[in-house]
């Protein structure tokens, strides 16, 4: 029960924190006043709530409503495997990493459905494009995650945390965290991996959405950012492990750190055209994840 409350609290706090950091970073890069950016998330929320929701011509209504809701649920489900302290997790199962992987895979489905359901060309192109990039990105993350399971000798997330008592995985498997961050950008549709909601398609899967629907999708994206950051902090940065402060505090701090990194990358690094990214994913990044896996295996056998 405490774990469930903790998950919901962390999600809510993460959505607020993510929105604020995002607005501040955007204002800083855009050369606009940073102070008003602190209130910007609330104002934008109010603005979106006071606008009409769009209905396109003959949309797939069921999926149009389900997609943002499912995205939010996936964020919560993904976060549920993260332990806040020894033994305190909503789903403390021996296959936590596989469950997280299933959430990743379903994000691809949800984003595609979001683009599909509007029954309009630009969202559909966005959805298609996202599938092409999102699937290989997800494959890479699975290899990287299996790498972290090797020293823990378990697919359970708690065991992965405990295996980092001496040395965190970010140091033990130096390729792991950077590759995993790519997935984070991909499943939250951000910056260099924003192929679903991209600007050249005037918002891609979001091109035909306004009002509450837009707000929901935005919120779900930020919730997923929180869930991913907590997962990255747990699997690569030792999660709740740390001196002096209590365990949950460490987890929150590390989560915030990962979120900051992702937000910075979002606004500072350019995105390459999809065809080029697809080539890189299959020919450079996927082999790199194999190297990471071999590295992790050799290290675990030591």
């Amino acid at each position: 029960m405490t774990a469930l409350i903790a998950v919901l609290l962390l999600l809510a706090a993460g959505v607020w924190f993510g929105a604020t950091v995002d607005a501040v970073a955007e204002a800083a890069v855009a050369g606009r006043p940073v102070r008003t950016a602190l209130a910007a998330p609330f104002r934008r929320t109010a603005l979106m709530l006071s606008r009409q929701a769009i209905e396109t011509e003959h949309p797939d209504t069921l999926n149009h409503l389900l997609a943002p809701a499912c995205y939010l649920v996936l964020a919560a489900a993904g976060l549920s495997v993260v332990p806040f302290a020894p033994g305190v997790a909503v789903t403390d199962i021996a296959t936590g990493l596989v469950l997280w992987g299933a959430c990743e895979a379903l994000v691809v489905v949800v984003v595609f459905l979001n683009g599909w359901s509007a029954n309009a060309p630009l969202p559909l192109i966005g959805g298609y494009r996202y599938v092409a990039i999102g699937l290989p990105a997800m494959l890479i993350s699975m290899f990287v995650l299996i790498g972290t399971a090797l020293p823990a000798q378990s697919l359970g997330v708690s065991a992965v945390v405990e295996s980092q008592r001496v040395l965190i995985n970010a140091v033990r498997q130096p390729l792991g965290l950077p590759l995993f961050l790519l997935l984070g950008l991909s499943i939250t549709l951000r910056g260099p991996f924003n192929y679903g909601d991209s600007a050249d398609l005037v918002g891609g899967t979001q091109a035909e959405v306004a009002g509450v629907q837009r707000l929901l999708w935005r919120g779900a994206k930020l919730a997923m950012l929180t869930a991913f950051s907590a997962m990255a902090a747990t699997v690569f940065l030792g999660g709740y492990l740390g001196p002096v402060l209590p365990g949950p505090a460490w987890l929150v701090l590390k989560t915030a750190l990962v979120m900051l990194m992702l937000v910075a990358i979002t606004h500072l690094v350019a995105r390459v055209p999809p065809a080029r990214m697809l080539t890189w994913l299959w020919t450079v990044l996927l082999p790199l994840s194999f190297v990471d896996l071999v590295w992790a295996g050799l290290e675990a056998m030591r």
Partner: protein, 203 residues
């Protein structure tokens, strides 16, 4: 009736109903994802059957597979959204008969056979068992599956790519002669080519 019994019947009903919807919806994308939901219901039953790894792995795999399925649906169907009614069937009555017969036969077999009763002991380390089996006693089978998948990948690329060994796949190709400069071996590709686009989709 315990809680897990109720869950089992709910998921069973879900699995069968979504499976039925696959062939009854006009929208091809919905059909793909109805199939995905059917798999998810079965995965939930697997979880109830104390097979946690298999259950979650099924969800993981089917999410990806059905995503690809939906893509191919949109690609190849001329009306993927089902804006027009969609009923592309042949030998319909025979198929219904075969489906009913299969269900009746298998169902009768299930009801009439004296089935063994020996449930998994609670607390059995099933995931560890699976791991040691995969990489221990049955390693050869597991590796064979892996190699087969690799072969599948190669075969898939060969089959679907345009550039063939002897020319573009859609132009028809002839292997070169058996001796250098000789007559091309094999039959000349026919130039009839029923390239009437979507010729098959009559009313």
């Amino acid at each position: 009736m315990t809680l897990s019994d109720i869950a089992f019947w709910l998921f069973s009903a879900g699995a069968v109903w979504t499976a039925w919807r696959v062939f009854r919806t006009d929208s091809m994308v919905r059909a793909s994802f109805a199939l995905m939901l059917s798999f998810f219901c079965v995965a939930a039953i697997l979880l109830l059957l104390s097979a946690p790894y298999l259950g979650i792995a099924t969800i993981f795999m089917m999410a990806v597979e059905m995503m690809v399925m939906a893509l191919f649906m949109v690609m190849f169907m001329m009306n993927p959204a089902g804006l027009n009614p969609m009923m592309m069937v042949h030998q319909h009555k025979v198929s219904i008969g075969a489906g009913v017969a299969a269900f009746a036969g298998l169902g009768a077999a299930a009801l009439l056979t004296d089935l063994p009763h020996h449930a998994v002991a609670a607390g059995k380390p099933v995931i560890r068992d699976l791991g040691t089996e995969l990489l221990g006693g049955s390693m050869l089978i597991f590796e064979t599956a892996g190699i087969t998948l690799l072969a599948t990948m190669v075969a898939t690329v060969v089959l679907s790519s345009r550039s063939g060994r002897f020319g573009a796949a859609d132009e028809g190709s002839r292997p070169p002669g058996l001796e250098p400069g000789g007559k091309p071996a094999g039959r000349a590709p026919e130039r009839d080519s029923d390239h009437s686009h979507h010729a098959e989709h009559g009313g």
